[in-house]
């Protein structure tokens, strides 16, 4: 055990001092945040504006179009007729606003499925328009702010996007760390074979201890990097909270939501509030614990396989013929990610989330949608058992393979070694 610790410590210190580690540690959060925010930014700044039909028979027309909404005046009186026209497929309108002067009520029909922020912004805008027009048309005393009734016509799925993003984010992080650091284990072993330092090591350390020391040392590097990234995310989160936290809390109050004027801050805060609410609805504790379990066990399982491959080959080029078959299950899970997210309880999703080579990615995609604790425990238990079995087999292959120079092992060699 002491030797595992010595190898682990040396491996860790060697790696965290490398320039590549520092660069990746610093660039990682920047790149991942870019990956997360660029699509959001692009979607927020889309040129596709929302088309709103305004029933303006009773009020005077005016150009209210802005960067979000395009208003079209419909000068018809019959509300039923307008509604029918609006509901037709070919109609380009996303939202219809009708006004009843007697009931002092505006009805908003939403065909597109506006985000909460868009709804809120539109309600304020429409109220403004009608009040201004009423003031201009009638006597000021009659210009009372009308009530707004909002009728969503599009099917609403609560926070589905947040669930998908959370699942995908965890799965991508796990995939990245397993792949990147698994390959590091393999490369490290191949390097030591190429350097011939392996013989010096093996006269002092058992092959299994050396292999485990290396795998765990790299795991420690991996956790350090992930810990640093988490700190960065938490820091950014706290900065964000300082900036918008107060506004977000205010927006939980319905009256404030309805009465606040549209300002840039308030609008952004409301937009974030929607995400924050979605985030709070996630099973965070389950995600956190499962993430850690799948992250560690998934890495250990794949690192053992990569270590065996490293022992079987004696140059980096040769490792490629083995790398693909090993990483294929993870890769394939990502090909099915869309299907898993859209149907988290389908038979395929279930199978992939129990099969140990795919479960770290597949289960993380499913968990945000709600998976029972027993399912997770069973899947983790299968993963753990597989790791123990694979680590033992890998150490057998490792023991035989690691001292072979000059000739790469064939698949036949691998299996015959496994048997012995």
């Amino acid at each position: 055990m002491k030797q595992i610790w010595i190898v682990l410590k040396q491996e860790y210190l060697n790696r965290i001092r490398k320039r590549s580690f520092v660069v990746l540690t610093l660039l990682g959060p920047v790149l991942s945040l870019c990956m997360l925010f660029i699509p959001v930014y692009l979607s927020l700044n889309t040129n596709e504006r929302i088309h709103v039909w305004l029933q303006t028979a009773n009020i005077r027309g005016g150009n209210f179009t802005d960067e979000t909404f395009v208003f079209h005046h419909i000068e018809k009186i019959d509300v039923k007729e307008i509604e029918q026209e609006f509901l037709q497929e070919k109609s380009e309108a996303d939202v219809l606003a009708t006004y009843s002067i007697d009931q002092k009520q505006i009805v908003l029909w939403d065909k597109k499925g506006l985000s909460a922020a868009e709804q809120w912004k539109l309600k304020n805008k429409i109220q403004d328009i009608y009040v201004k027009d009423l003031v201009a048309t009638y006597l000021p005393e009659r210009a009372v702010a009308p009530q707004i009734q909002y009728i969503p016509l599009a099917e609403e799925i609560p926070h589905t996007d947040i669930l998908q993003v959370a699942g995908l984010f965890c799965a991508i992080i796990i995939y990245f760390f397993i792949f990147y650091y698994g390959v590091q284990v393999m490369k490290g072993i191949v390097d030591e074979k190429v350097n011939r330092v392996v013989e010096v090591i093996l006269c002092s350390v058992k092959p299994f201890h050396w292999m485990m020391g290396k795998i765990l040392g790299i795991a420690a590097v991996c956790l350090t990097q992930f810990g640093f990234w988490t700190m960065i995310y938490v820091w950014i989160g706290s900065k964000f909270n300082n900036r918008y936290g107060e506004a977000l809390t205010q927006f939980n109050d319905k009256n404030i939501q309805d009465t606040l004027h549209v300002t840039t801050d308030a609008w952004q805060a409301l937009e974030w509030n929607v995400y924050a609410q979605g985030f709070e609805s996630l099973p965070l504790l389950t995600i956190g614990i499962s993430f850690f379990a799948y992250f560690i066990l998934g890495y250990l399982l794949y690192a053992s396989l990569f270590a065996a491959v490293g022992a079987m080959t004696d140059n980096e080029t040769d490792t490629q013929q083995f790398t693909f078959p090993i990483t294929a299950p993870l890769f394939i899970t990502f090909l099915f990610a869309g299907l898993i997210i859209s149907a988290p309880d389908s038979q395929m999703s279930m199978i992939l989330s129990y099969f140990p080579l795919t479960s770290p990615v597949a289960m993380m995609l499913r968990i945000p949608f709600g998976v029972s604790v027993w399912e997770i425990v069973a899947s983790v238990a299968i993963l753990l058992t597989t790791f123990i079995f694979v680590a033992y087999q890998a150490s057998q292959v490792f023991k035989r393979g690691v001292l072979q120079y000059g000739k790469a092992m064939s698949w036949k060699d691998v299996f015959s070694f496994g048997k012995k």
Binding site: N14, V197, V200, L202, C203, S204, V205
Partner: protein
């Protein structure tokens, strides 16, 4: 003197290839064993068996009377033929790492590596990355990695390869010093001169089997054919003309002869003195080099 190592019927195969075939021998404490044999004879496998890098298929190895086990790793030092160190790591750092792997505390390891770096005159490079050192300096670092933990048994596979003559002398001196301080040493080499100079025991293996073992002088006597080495001027008596094995002119008058005398040595000397001038006359024991070549050639035939 008590025994440090004993092999009993040790066999090691790799697939259908037998690398070590029922080898048995024992080694006394504080001896220097020279391990000889042509390429592919099984020398490196034998050393790897003793260092527990590979395990025997059958037979047993004993260390100080006990079956060789994990615990003995710390008492054995190994300099492999395939030299290997971390190229990108600093010199002293990697030596401390190796010393710790062999059971030393970090404080002890630091002290020992500092002493050895001073002893081999490479202290200046202790904080440099290994790959910036010359090949000779790297070999010295490799040598320190094998001896840093004060092993009782030191195994050196071709210790002089890669050294220039001056550095080879330094290493030879250190091997002798370690021996003087009580370390038992096994080394394999192709350099026969060092074998005769340094070793107290010899073991020659070929085709996975022991073919020769014993003290160097005893082995040489075993191969003694009664030859005489002679430096002489004058005409060689006619009755010994046919005994000449080889002859070489030293200068205008003196000739060096190797003879396989057909008469008594005393008679021969008398005869030579009567007919000419004798400058040198000695019994010629075959060198280890000759024995080695003789054996290898016999095998090939």
């Amino acid at each position: 003197m008590s025994e440090i190592l004993r092999l009993e019927n040790v066999t090691k195969t790799f697939g259908s290839y037998t690398a070590i075939d029922h080898i048995s021998f024992s080694l006394k404490k504080n001896s220097i064993l020279g391990l000889l044999g042509p390429n592919g004879a099984g020398k490196t496998t034998l050393l790897r068996l003793i260092t527990q890098i590979v395990l025997p298929d059958s037979g047993q190895i004993f260390f100080e009377g006990n079956v060789l086990s994990e615990a003995h790793r710390m008492q054995i030092g190994y300099l492999p033929e395939e030299r290997g160190l971390y190229r990108k790591m600093r010199v002293q750092e990697q030596l401390i790492y190796f010393a710790q792997l062999r059971g030393m505390s970090s404080k002890e390891a630091k002290q020992q590596t500092t002493d050895w770096l001073t002893r081999l005159e490479i202290t200046f490079f202790k904080d440099q990355v290994l790959e910036t050192l010359s090949k000779g300096q790297q070999q010295k670092v490799q040598f320190i990695s094998a001896v840093v933990h004060n092993p009782e048994l030191l195994i050196l596979d071709e210790p002089f390869s890669g050294f220039d003559p001056a550095n080879a002398e330094v290493i030879k001196k250190e091997i002798k010093a370690l021996h003087a301080s009580g370390t038992t040493i096994i080394y394999s080499t192709h350099r026969m001169d060092t074998v005769e100079d340094v070793c107290t025991e010899l073991l020659m293996i070929d085709h996975a089997k022991v073919v020769l073992q014993g003290e160097p002088n005893a082995i040489r006597k075993q191969f003694d054919k009664g030859y005489v080495r002679l430096i002489y001027s004058g005409a060689l008596p006619t009755q010994i003309q046919s005994d000449i094995i080889e002859q070489k002119n030293i200068d205008a008058t003196k000739v060096s002869y190797l003879l396989a005398p057909s008469i008594e040595k005393k008679q021969l000397l008398q005869l030579l003195i009567n007919q000419g001038e004798v400058y040198h006359f000695e019994e010629h024991l075959p060198s280890m080099h000759e024995i080695f070549l003789q054996h290898v050639n016999k095998q090939r035939v």
